[in-house]
């Protein structure tokens, strides 16, 4: 369409004042177009430049697989981030384990079963859940969840991996629901009609025909949830207790994100401690990039169908 339009633009006789702006505006828009790429490059380059020095100083192996983090220890500081990596992985896995089934069933209900009015109410609820700021989730978690966990399991403190997992599960719920719902709605009606005609009940059809047909969209929802969960910082900073332990369900833990957030405000510029925080950022960035690649794979497969 662009090619065919160009001759008109150049050939016609138009008032000069209009023409005068054409080229500069095209240049302006082109610059704007490239700005997203520029930002991505800027972020990548900065994270690599600032993240590498500490890794070089500590040693890649000791950094990634060291089990002790004691960045402020006076005589024997240690910078091993394995506890953070594992906590992030366990926390995300836990959140997915809880959030995906609930999200999936809600999406099926919304897309296929719910009467329009009920679906409208639930959709509004989901939108609102998506809009609540993460510190508010953290606050409610602090006030309700943490004491509840402390009392239920008779612990000294309720700030734990479990609390973080539950908060994360709630936080990823909206994106899982809305992405899977979109995928389920896109399933051709003929598939379902064929299944119904063969004698399957409605629910059998939705779970054994519609859901498998929408599986790459649902997979995308899960991957999106993984990305959200692994990147969340503030909410879990408030409920996870923030001690650099190896992860276990009832102990106070630190995630990759909260490791950065909790020490960034007091680590002095130029110190190894601060540089190590940048390196954690780099590790997190690599995680996110891998997730993005997987996500795009699923989305593309969905589009091709």
């Amino acid at each position: 369409m662009n090619e065919s339009a160009t001759p008109v633009q150049e050939g016609g006789k138009k008032p000069r004042s209009r023409n005068l702006l054409e080229r500069p505006m095209q240049a302006v828009f082109t610059v704007c177009g490239f700005i997203a790429i520029a930002f991505v490059l800027l972020i990548t380059v900065y994270l690599i430049i600032s993240g590498l020095p500490a890794i070089r100083e500590i040693g890649l192996w000791d950094f990634l697989f060291g089990t002790r983090w004691a960045s402020t220890h006076k005589t024997d500081p240690a910078y091993g981030i394995l506890p953070f990596i594992l906590t992030s992985i366990y926390g995300t896995a836990g959140a997915i384990l809880i959030g995906v089934p609930i999200g999936f069933f809600t999406a099926v209900y919304l897309a296929k079963v719910a009467p329009p009015r009920v679906a409208g109410v639930i959709r509004t609820a989901v939108d609102l859940l998506a809009g609540i700021p993460s510190v508010v989730y953290g606050l409610v978690g602090m006030m309700v969840l943490v004491p509840a966990i402390r009392e239920t399991f008779d612990l000294a403190a309720g700030d734990s991996l479990l609390a973080a997992i539950i908060v994360l599960a709630v936080m990823i719920l909206p994106s899982i629901i809305s992405v899977s719902e979109t995928a389920l709605l896109a399933v051709p009606r003929e598939y379902e009609e064929a299944s119904l005609a063969l004698g399957a009940t409605e629910l059998e059809t939705y779970f054994r025909v519609s859901a498998p047909a929408a599986k790459s969209g649902i997979a995308a929802a899960v991957v999106l949830g993984v990305g959200r969960a692994i990147g969340e910082a503030m909410a879990i900073l408030m409920v996870a207790g923030n001690v650099a332990n190896m992860p276990s369900l009832f102990s106070s833990v630190r995630f990759l994100t909260t490791a950065i957030a909790s020490e960034m405000s007091y680590a002095s510029v130029g110190s190894l401690q601060r540089n190590a925080l940048y390196s954690i950022g780099l590790v997190l960035f690599l995680f996110i990039m891998c997730i993005n690649v997987v996500l795009n794979l699923f989305l593309k497969r969905d589009k091709e169908k």
Partner: protein
């Protein structure tokens, strides 16, 4: 219409009574799971809202909303936080709107190379997927340290520009795509230049999409905390934006950061809950606004 018709047809075809016990159990279990999950989702929202309202509303007062905290009078107020939030919203939007809308226009109206468009769209998606704590890191490095802005609201806003850019680009692009191709061809055929055509035909018909983008961006800005904590500071005193240099030098906590400071550093949960009520109201308004604009968009 068609959907409901065929659904009821499906029901009459297979009566539950004709099913084998195994299938009947499957039916019951699955239906129960559907209802439980959906109910749980709604219940969660109600529970969160309920908790916040019960604990937070008693602390609300006119004075809480319209003054700053005072140690002498022993009163609390979040006016500075409200002001800072507004500042961040306005400054971020002023910068990100031209950039984002411009990028969307380039993508839909100018770019001829399909690969290039794909690359830019991929970059936009990547930006959307980067967690805010990484934006905080980069913002701190680039705007606070490199550019020498220090921890200021301006540095925070600039970081948020990068963060909200994908939202603006995507929504604008969506609405530009809905402008019929024939409008463009008509304008160009009548001898309008491309920019003239965009200014008079394309932009006016996609204004709703741009407004939606703005609303979504405001939602993200209001909800953001990690970025602002590390780039915009956490002070809770009034800023004088109109003194000399006030627009550039001011630093302070927005509502979300204030909530965090109250909850985590001062352990004053009642106050934090009151801030949460304010945030909840804003979230509600943003959702409503987005819905209204969305409806108008659909009507067209």
């Amino acid at each position: 219409m068609e959907k409901t018709a065929s659904r009821s047809a499906g029901k009459s075809r297979v009566k539950n009574g004709n099913l084998s016990p195994r299938r009947r159990i499957y039916e019951i279990v699955m239906r129960a799971l559907l209802y439980i999950s959906s109910g749980l989702t709604v219940a969660l929202l109600l529970f969160i809202i309920g908790t916040i309202l019960v604990d937070g509303v008693p602390g609300l007062s006119w004075q809480f909303l319209t003054t700053q905290e005072s140690v002498i009078n022993d009163t609390n107020g979040i006016l500075p936080a409200i002001q800072n939030t507004l500042y961040v919203i306005v400054v971020t939007l002023i910068i990100v709107l031209p950039l984002g809308v411009g990028a969307a226009i380039y993508l839909t109206e100018y770019a001829g190379n399909r690969r290039l468009v794909a690359a830019i769209e991929y970059a936009t998606e990547t930006l959307a997927g980067i967690p805010s704590i990484l934006y905080a890191l980069v913002g701190m490095l680039v705007f606070c340290q490199m550019m020498g802005l220090g921890k200021t609201l301006l540095a925070g806003s600039l970081t948020l520009v990068i963060m909200t850019l994908p939202t603006i680009i995507r929504t604008t692009q969506e609405s530009l795509k809905t402008v019929p191709q024939s409008y463009r061809e008509g304008a160009l055929g009548l001898g309008a230049g491309r920019w003239h055509m965009i200014r008079t035909i394309v932009l006016p018909s996609s204004i709703d999409g741009i407004v939606t983008g703005c609303i979504l961006a405001i939602g993200r800005i209001v909800g953001e905390s990690a970025v602002l904590m590390f780039t915009a500071g956490m002070s809770m005193t009034m800023q004088d934006f109109f003194s000399s240099g006030g627009l550039i030098d001011s630093s302070g906590a927005t509502l979300t950061v204030a909530l965090y400071v109250y909850a985590k550093e001062r352990a004053d949960f009642k106050l934090a809950m009151s801030v949460a009520v304010v945030l909840l109201c804003i979230t509600l308004c943003i959702n409503l606004a987005a819905k209204l604009v969305g409806k108008r968009l659909k009507k067209k």
